[in-house]
Symmetry: C2
Subunit: 327 residues, 2 copies
């Protein structure tokens, strides 16, 4: 595995060879649909890259690669239902294409299937691997709950630290967990695994902050969705939380009012007014600085790992790919 692309191709092969359909088909068709929708399959690619970093044989992590992606897709399936998101990767979500009960039960079954994939692949460190997977799963659930809690809170009630803790749980721990699991299968030393985990955490936070930034400043043609959606949704993302801390009393009051606005407000006018304040505060520079800080921390952890430099290439590719999203 010399490049990220090779890791991703391996993941595609693994998924292409796997059969997801079974009886009752009312249960498994939505599972097959979800797992065939594609996506970048970042987590299993990272797992394979981490395994190769410590000289592991990719054949020994096929189950774990399937397991981590199946779990991730299960969380998306249930999140889409909870968030009432009609589309995922440009296609109807399961609860809209089928119904709510199908989304609940197919999701539950995907979670069990993720375990089946993990249990398929023996390892002397299987207990540790399964514990890592499970504690990660619990953190992802907790992160989703904090995210839902924030929806009902005002801008003042959510601190920047709380927000960062939430995205750490909801996004970063699964990326870090995927890396850790790949390294555990390769029998990597604990100290190196810890560094790799921290690399994943910082990368995950950088990734999410970038997502927040792109919502405000992304190029719609590249980003693939309309900007300003977080503002329309009153979402307490990194941008308004950081802005509130920098704002003068008048700007702060305007932000509070706009982020508490109900549906009866003109949405485009709201986006424009929020973005105006962001501009006045030169917020973009600050957010980019935060992102760079996280990428830099990730870089330092990756550099410090005792492994051949050439073997780090897929993870360097990954960092560059993620960092390059803004372009």
């Amino acid at each position: 595995m010399e490049t990220l692309k090779q890791c991703m191709q391996e993941v595609e092969r693994i998924f292409a060879e796997e059969q997801f359909l079974a009886e009752p088909h009312e249960l498994y068709e939505p599972i097959d649909y979800t797992l065939r929708l594609g996506g970048k399959r970042i987590r299993p690619s990272m797992l394979i890259a981490a395994n190769a970093l410590f000289g592991g044989d990719t054949a020994t992590v096929r189950g774990a690669a399937l397991g981590i992606e199946t779990f991730h897709n299960f969380t998306l399936l249930h999140d889409d239902l909870m968030d009432r998101s009609p589309l995922r990767r440009g296609q109807p979500t399961v609860y809209t294409k089928w119904d709510e009960n199908t989304a609940i039960l197919s999701g539950d079954t995907m979670y069990a299937l993720a375990w089946r994939y993990f249990l398929r692949q023996p390892s002397p460190r299987l207990h540790e691997i399964l514990q890592c997977f499970n504690e990660t799963a619990i953190e992802v659930c907790e992160g989703q709950q904090w995210d839902m809690n924030f929806e009902h809170m005002t801008l003042d009630e959510v601190s920047l630290d709380q927000y960062t803790a939430m995205i750490r749980q909801k996004t970063a721990v699964l990326l870090a967990g995927a890396l850790k699991i790949g390294a555990l299968y390769a029998g990597a030393p604990q100290a190196e695994i810890d560094k790799l985990y921290q690399f994943g955490i910082h990368l995950g936070i950088a990734f999410q902050l970038q997502d927040d930034l792109l919502d405000g400043y992304g190029d719609t043609a590249v980003f693939g969705k309309k900007t300003g959606q977080d503002i329309r949704d009153n979402k307490k993302s990194y941008l308004p939380l950081l802005a509130l801390g920098k704002a003068d009393p008048t700007q702060a009051d305007t932000l509070r009012t706009l982020f508490a606005a109900k549906d009866n407000m003109d949405e485009e006018e709201k986006v424009r007014r929020v973005m105006d304040i962001y501009e006045q505060l030169k917020l973009k520079d600050d957010v980019e600085h935060s992102i760079d800080t996280e990428f830099h921390a990730a870089q330092i952890h990756l550099d410090s790992i005792a492994a051949a430099d050439t073997r780090k290439q897929p993870l360097r590719d990954l960092m560059e790919t993620l960092a390059g999203r803004k372009k």
Copy 2:
């Protein structure tokens, strides 16, 4: 563990000593509520009884006992949401007391917590134990899907065999799985585990058939709910499916019509007419015969297990308790 009562008391102790509350409390309060609602805790009691049957130390299965009950309660939580059941054990279900999203996410988290409990308890056969737990979970999901499929099917479209296969997956495999896991922790020989598993399957089917019978013929004061609910719900339970096979053409047509009836029909009149046909067919005798056959098969498997007879007492108590529900 000399009696079922002792096993149940041990389970109560285990649950009393466990802390289910954590942060975010919006996530964990519904979990604590669900796990503190009580119930008979049959599955962990069976797990402990099976462990003791082969000379296991109860302290080694505390995690598994918590895990199996937490999993069972997770399935009830999601089933209640899918079935829109407002009450469970006489108390509001999670989706009514909180909301749908809370029911989805707290349920998902309970499933992850079940794994945490299982992973807490090491065993030389842990891999086999976890595989048993996971394959059981998948079967329970499949059984729930078949049950939901049957709702949209006519009486003629569901065969008695399909119905039995459904209750086997939805109810019996979890009872059998609990027994198997308890025995695996005790290091029981495979052949004995297989017999114990079959005991659990037959017991589980008997239990569910009895539930179906009680819906028609139970003593409301003892049964705790109004009889005839399956008939009001057009539920393709064992009773109408067996009745259809015995009915003459006129009775069969009446059953088909009544079990396809929409809400605009007088419900009590419908219950009375279905019960009249059951009486004409002497259906109760047949169902009791089926139940006895399952209990008898369970008994034979239990008798055949190579273990001291006194150690079988808790499982004999269980059979008697379940068999005695009709009284």
